[in-house]
Symmetry: C2
Subunit: 170 residues, 2 copies
DNA sequence: AGCATACGTCAGTCTTGTTGACATTCCAAG
DNA sequence: CTTGGAATGTCAACAAGACTGACGTATGCT
């Protein structure tokens, strides 16, 4: 893509010049790609009584079993009331189990049930399939660049959360 | 990043192998980065009576002045009722002008007013600033990879829309 | 003349975010 | 030991922004 054209950006004395047009294309790429990114799980969820918020909760509980509500709150970046509604339905439906903390009884530790793991699997299978295709199409060097840019785009606290998750599962 | 570790992916006879873990990290990177991506405009908009939906409309009207409602509908991927609510407030507030089509009087062509352009500028300045930082941090090769992966992640129709926008503004 | 298209609007619902108020639990200072 | 503040989680009410469905109007095309 754009192989024979002028380079989209160039270095000069270690300084990178970027036109507004290049940046705007990056912005639009992000917008359109995120739509694709969420499309497959959204389609699956729309058949059930769940939405994207449930997907996110299930994803991160699966990723860090036993996490507390507060922990999840920080990762998801929503209010506890908003998360609670989602969590309540998931618990009622038997997808998530909430255990009172041993050391601190105020805390609730969250786990996926067998059924919860099944849903997580279905959703992440779909999402991974798209990601795999995109990674294959683009090639390993592009994937490395993709990750580097995304990490640089995160808010600092989110970069911490991301790195922590990444490193806890090697 | 991950310079001294095992490669995140490798080629073998032109076939790219990707572990579920690598894909999941890509998924999480996408999630956290998108939050950062929308954070700055969202902050600005929360002070006004507008939201992310208004930002998107203003962005694409600015990008393709004179675009029709139907066109915008396809780009944004929402229903006309949903877009109409947003558009109505923008027109009432004098940020967007709607002109009856000359050739086809059924169509409405959309333009930003002076005030609309000012808002667009404010929002996109903030968003571009973050994108510029990310691009600078990551470097030009990473940026190329970033774009390649995002394009591969889009739905086909959105890739068309994206490419059309991109090529119309060289 | 008749059907299709583009747009606007009204009404109702759903998801997911918000604030505010409140209950429970923990901990530390008096 | 008690008590008050902080942390954690729950309930209730509301708003933004998406959706569907139905309908009306103006226009275009055959």
């Amino acid at each position: 893509m754009a192989e024979g054209q002028a380079p989209a950006s160039y270095r000069n004395e270690n300084l990178l010049f970027l036109t507004d047009e290049q940046l705007r294309q990056g912005i639009e790429a992000m917008f359109f790609a995120y739509r694709g990114f969420t499309a497959d799980p959204d389609r699956i969820l729309s058949d059930m009584a769940y939405g994207r918020a449930h997907h996110r909760a299930v994803h991160f509980i699966n990723r860090a079993p036993g996490t507390t509500v507060n922990n999840l709150l920080n990762i998801l970046g929503v209010t506890k009331q908003s998360l609670n509604r989602v969590l309540r339905t998931l618990i009622e439906d038997g997808l998530v189990e909430s255990r009172v903390g041993k050391a601190d009884k105020r805390e609730r530790h969250l786990y996926l049930t067998e059924e919860g793991r099944a849903l997580e699997q279905t959703l992440s299978d779909a999402q991974r399939a798209r990601m795999r295709m995109a990674f294959r199409d683009a090639g390993p060097d592009a994937v490395a660049g993709f990750r580097r840019v995304l990490e640089a785009m995160m808010d600092k606290e989110m970069r911490f959360a991301y790195t922590r998750l990444k490193d806890n599962t090697p």
